[in-house]
Amino acid sequence: MELALNEDQTQILDFIDSLAKPYASVPMHDVSYALTSDDLDNELAENGFLDVMSVEELGPVTAALVVEKLARLPFALESAASALVRSLIDPDLPRPLCLVEEGRLNRPVRFLRPGASVVVVGPSGVRSFTASEELIAPPQEDTLYAYPVAFLTGLPDALTSHDIAAEEVQRAWRVALAAETAGLLGAALESLTTYLSERKQFGRPLATFQALRHRLAETQVLTNGVYWMALKAAGTGDPADAALAALHAQDAAKRVGYDYHQLMGGMGMTLEHPMHLWTYRLKLLTAELGGRGSQALAAADAIWG
């Protein structure tokens, strides 16, 4: 057992911090639903940050740390699936990587665009194809979800089958979900903490009212739990750990999705404050992999048979 960051990990996280610095806040006057940056995406990919999982001395925990860190940015990046799932399926699959569940093809697919790799996971195994224009319903520009999303209109006639069990991909997907959620939760909490410490009513900062302090403190506990469970699940590779991490992550996401907007009052309904960039991503993640109930059942299967 060793839970401190090693030197490599500290260095990688520091690199990412400096690389992502220009993207650490929302550009002035930008009120988009979903902020993205191809430049940042390219830089991360070119520098190999999304491939650390297959580097032997780095591995999945480092990949989860990278994903957590990147998810804190106001910019939406396809990092979780690429960093924590792709190398298991085929490290050369072109990005972005879109994971979809067989049988749930009608859901909004994050980062779907022509050229994206779509991986369909389910009873028929793990199969992929490259998304082309005619398989994609026009991207939804005005989705609230703060990710670029689009819909699949169907599957192509031929898909590439991959030699990996669907369960293994689902396990890694749960880790990816938990790691991304951890970062989003962390950034949203930090942003809310700042807001409530500055916003005054009744002559004092709102953060001095205990009714609000306790709600914030409880989400700190949840956020910390999701962070560590995601890393642990990445580290152990155990399906039960992955399901529990994803379950706790989706539970936490559901909890803050309401609270964080509520506690900002009217400001929480605007696009002026970046809160929605984290919370609406969290909301969409609560629907992933069948939602909390499915993670709970997967965990029960893995633990008690």
Binding site: M1, E2, L3, A4, L5, N6, Q9, V61, L189, T193, L196, S197, R204, P205, A207, T208, F209, Q210, R213, H214, L216, A217, E218, Q220, V221, L222, N224, G225, V226, W228, M229, L231, K232, G235, T236, A240, D241, A243, L244, A245, L247, H248, D251, G293, Q295, A296, L297, A299, A300, D301, I303, W304
Partner: protein, 381 residues
Amino acid sequence: MDFAWSDEQQAFRQKLRDFLADNLPDDWEKFSEHGPASPALTAFAREFCGKLAENGMLFPHWPKELGGEGLGPWEQQILAEEMWSAGEPRGGQYMNVNWIGPTLDRYGTPEQKAQYLKPITDGATLWCQGFSEPDAGSDLASLRTRAELVDSNYVINGQKIWTSYAGLADTCFLLTRTSDDRKKGITILLVPMDTPGITVRQIPSLVGEGDIHEVFFDDVTVPEGARFGEEGQAWEIIAYSLRNERLGVPRFSLARAALDRAVAMLQERGEFSGEIVRAEAARCAAACDASQIACYALVQKRVDGEQIGAESSSARYAVVQCERAVCEFVIEYVPEALAGASPYLKMHHQRGIVAGVASGAAEIQLNIIASDVLELPREPR
């Protein structure tokens, strides 16, 4: 980062399990219903802790010169997990290991160390913690039990409450007021419980026989050398003690073991196939895991020699959530457990329900997280 136990750590855990298997009586589960502070368990614990000490398993994480084996904080954690999930056969002596021993070692005078440390590392003595008073619970700094220095003796008058183990303890780690300067006016005295003037009254409770007490002090007189630290230093010392205490009880281990036990009972009678019960059980397991890993992050700090601060309140609060989830699960799905069907689950329930109150209420942990982890501006006083 590495989330796996080393071979040595696994071997250490196995050694503890073997020891427990060899040294707990066959009817241990029924026996442990007596509760950690009961006369029966206290007597058993004296013998059991003596054997642990002989085998180097009472203070394995202490340096050799103090009677330990020189192992580290992870072994201390493994020890606590194995003991607690077995129903804490060390009885109240677990407090010696968690915080009384370390606090004595750090702040005691040479005479105090010479007097108290050996019985502790031999597993031969029981302590109690005299902090709370009827009007000083969460607001501990308002405590009023007076100690007055009269001719090189302290004369103590006042009352403590909720004092666990007081009925059978040898010594009390007592907080007294020596001046009116709130936190700076509190002083620790180490008081033998057989000193004349001490009256102990048991409080009947939900948490097991003999656990909580009222303790009255009427002109109780102890020599000046019973003072622990300087006058007014108590607050600094107990901040250190409580940090150790909060991390000391791995409630998630027993909660998780209780959950597994409840699930096994349900499986046995074919009642663990419904999606609702399975999902609820999984949610309990997630709460156990979340609190365990939050505590492990603190153990790592200990390994690295870092101070553990307000994060311990965050881990504590996670632990309270896990205890609550499992206690409620058991009652909803295996209600007969608390009515005789499972001594183990009843034992867990009685330990579990105090998680949010004993050693600092849950809401106080939230206050600490808000102020010192999130660093929110303070509430007006």
